[in-house]
Symmetry: C2
Subunit: 416 residues, 2 copies
């Protein structure tokens, strides 16, 4: 019966379509990583420029803006060739909506730069403005990371997203530290924020270390955990985070700090690129085997009706987990259907485990966002509130966040 | 900047694509409901025929087979026109795989019927065989129910799936009761299974009652909870489930039982059809408003770069839940982007709550399936084991089921 075969083939074609989409997504994520890296550097240099009242980093800022523009141009080109007609549903809609947001941010970038050049905004506002644009870019990566149904690919995307998120927090830390040293002083609010950034990035890198391939984790350890710049960074963190408000900070440390951080972040960027490469390889390998599998059913023979009957009705339930189904009709259509079905179910179970990390982040971020708006808190205050509540109630932070969101729904904050 | 507008439009087009797909899905589900209804009746009549050793239901069985074949022909036609190229990813693959399985089952149906006609299999085996085919059809409905990102549509699909599942359990109960009365006796194993079927269908209808529109719940109450047939059904349930093994059951009750059950199930089928109709209406209404929204952005004006800047960087975070963002640039692209983004996030939160019911069923069913294979248990034994464990450990049944699945993964039952 060719119709069952037809749908069996279609099932495999669905997987192939997804893998081809994932390949495109992987190279898209890679390009986004480039832009984010450039904007992070531009943000750090802008901080030094502003905090030193225009006495430092003028030339390197100018050069970095040109590099950023080149990276942005690449993203624009990529977006032009993106086939939006292949997207569908809530996820496609969120992805497009996120891209539209980012494009508006890019549109606003020249005005932001002008304000920086003319020193018409504070270091903090500049850092926040860049952070908002980068957050928009990361939201695009997040939507992409949420799209894979292959556990091994999904795991790499989760690793990638958390790595990029951790790197962004490291970038914010670089800007914060650079501002403190360039200004020659710090205060307790900035120190609190600084400590929050350190803690948050460690959580992200922890998820990375749980999901990434072993060789990249090793590289990560050599770069950050045991790297030579880490000694400088930890020393300057101590100086910056413990200095009392009235005591002056040595301004010269701003370049030392910026350089050490930049060196580590450049290293992170290399790990990021390798992770993106691994992602492409993984997609390609799956695509290859899916295409091989697609050729199989053509060789199958369909048993006669009289034979299908005991095979379909007389054996163990299809939802059986026993891979060694004893049946006399080897390599029949039904058997392939059942194997396929089992494999898809197993993939779903594994995927749910992998996605846990993404879902938890999603819930925590949304709860934080709501607390920020409703209670008028800063991001670190919102995070602190969630964490303290979790500790007091002896619950996980994600459960507290979930309660916050459910409560909001009860309070009728939702739209129709 | 037309590119942001382009992606804003694309985001809405994604929603429209999904809604059009959901419209097709809704009519597909409706057709599947027809086939299932026909096969359920055929199964019940087959039970009477087999249990009465060919002395009852011969003619009505013959007629019902013809009706079933007509319904099957409609599904086949529908499958021929299904555009598989529009499906993608794990979900599309699972849907196609489920359809391929069902088509194999349909292929085996003539042989099953021949065995029934020649009385070459037991009542129980016949019931199980039909149940397996119907389970395959329900799996297709389940995959469809899992696909909507609109909370209101998803809610209706969840109601639909659980209603169909509950009706199938009612159908199995009809066949079980019919067999007991036709045979003129019952035993404790059959009675246990019978009670399990009653309990399970009540759980399904409870989910239906939580998700369905008010008018259908009312109709449901009038039909089943307070319906005239319900008195007969409850009386015969009592007789059938409490009779001791040695005592004879009045054989004449088999027709009374079958008729009362059939009457209720025909009523259920009507509710099912109305629910499918509501689903179509809901999809159409959403589609209409999405198409209206698509026309909007064309009227928007893009503010100059100098204006986008404060709008993008100087206002509250985009993840704000406050619908009344105070900004002086009304109806700008950015504002629409932000509203869109907010709406999509809210939808996602609501959707996750609605899907809870589907996810829990998924986990419980898979855990049961595994226990059945691994521990060689019947479906009701597996369910009982899960329930007892939940009671003993004071946990929810879904949490116990999750533990069973996680354990299986640890024991390396998964594939690559």
């Amino acid at each position: 019966m060719d119709t069952a075969l037809h749908f069996l083939t279609a099932a495999r074609q669905c997987e192939i379509n997804e893998l081809q989409q994932l390949l495109r997504t992987s190279s898209f994520v890679r390009t986004l990583a480039e832009v984010i890296h450039a904007l992070q550097k531009e943000r750090g240099l802008s901080s030094i420029w502003l905090a030193s009242q225009g006495s430092r980093a003028a030339q390197s800022l100018q050069a970095q803006r040109i590099s950023s523009d080149q990276a942005i141009a690449t993203v624009r080109d990529m977006l032009h060739t993106l086939d939006v007609s292949s997207l569908s549903g809530g996820q496609g809609a969120r992805l497009c909506s996120d891209i539209a947001y980012v494009l508006q941010g890019i549109e606003a970038l020249p005005a932001l730069r002008q304000h920086v050049t003319q020193q018409r905004l504070s270091v903090n506002d500049s850092t926040q403005a860049y952070a908002r644009l980068i957050a928009g870019l990361l939201a695009v990566v997040f939507e992409a990371a949420d799209s894979a149904t292959y556990p091994s690919i999904s795991r790499l995307l989760v690793a990638m997203f958390h790595f990029m998120q951790g790197k962004e927090l490291a970038g914010q830390e670089r800007a914060t530290g650079a501002a403190a040293f360039s200004a020659g002083r710090s205060d307790s609010e900035r120190q609190q924020h600084w400590l929050h950034l350190i803690e948050s990035q460690e959580r992200c890198f922890q998820v990375f270390a749980e999901c990434a391939p072993a060789d990249l984790i090793l590289e990560w350890n050599q770069l950050v955990v045991m790297g030579p710049d880490q000694i400088t960074i930890e020393r300057l963190r101590r100086i910056g985070c413990t200095a009392i408000a009235s005591a002056p900070l040595p301004r010269d440390l701003s370049e030392v700090w910026f350089e050490a951080c930049t060196h580590v972040m450049d290293g992170m960027h290399q790990i990021e690129s390798k992770l993106a490469q691994t992602l492409v390889q993984e997609c390609t390998a799956h695509l290859h085997s899916a295409q091989q599998a697609l050729k199989q059913p053509a060789q199958l023979t369909q048993p006669s009706t009289e034979d299908v009957w005991p095979e379909f009705f007389a054996q163990a339930s299809r939802h059986s987990w026993d891979a060694q189904l004893t049946t006399q009709f080897k390599a029949s259509v039904l058997q392939v259907v059942q194997e396929q079905s089992q494999r898809l179910q197993t993939m779903r179970t594994e995927l749910e485990a992998v996605r846990q990390a993404l879902n938890e982040r999603k819930v925590v971020e949304r709860a934080k966002g709501m607390l920020m708006t409703q209670q008028n808190l800063s991001e670190s205050q919102a995070h602190k509130l969630l964490r303290q509540t979790a500790m007091t109630q002896n619950r996980r932070i994600v459960d507290v966040a979930q309660s916050v969101l459910s409560m909001a729904e009860l309070l009728n904050l939702r739209e129709t």
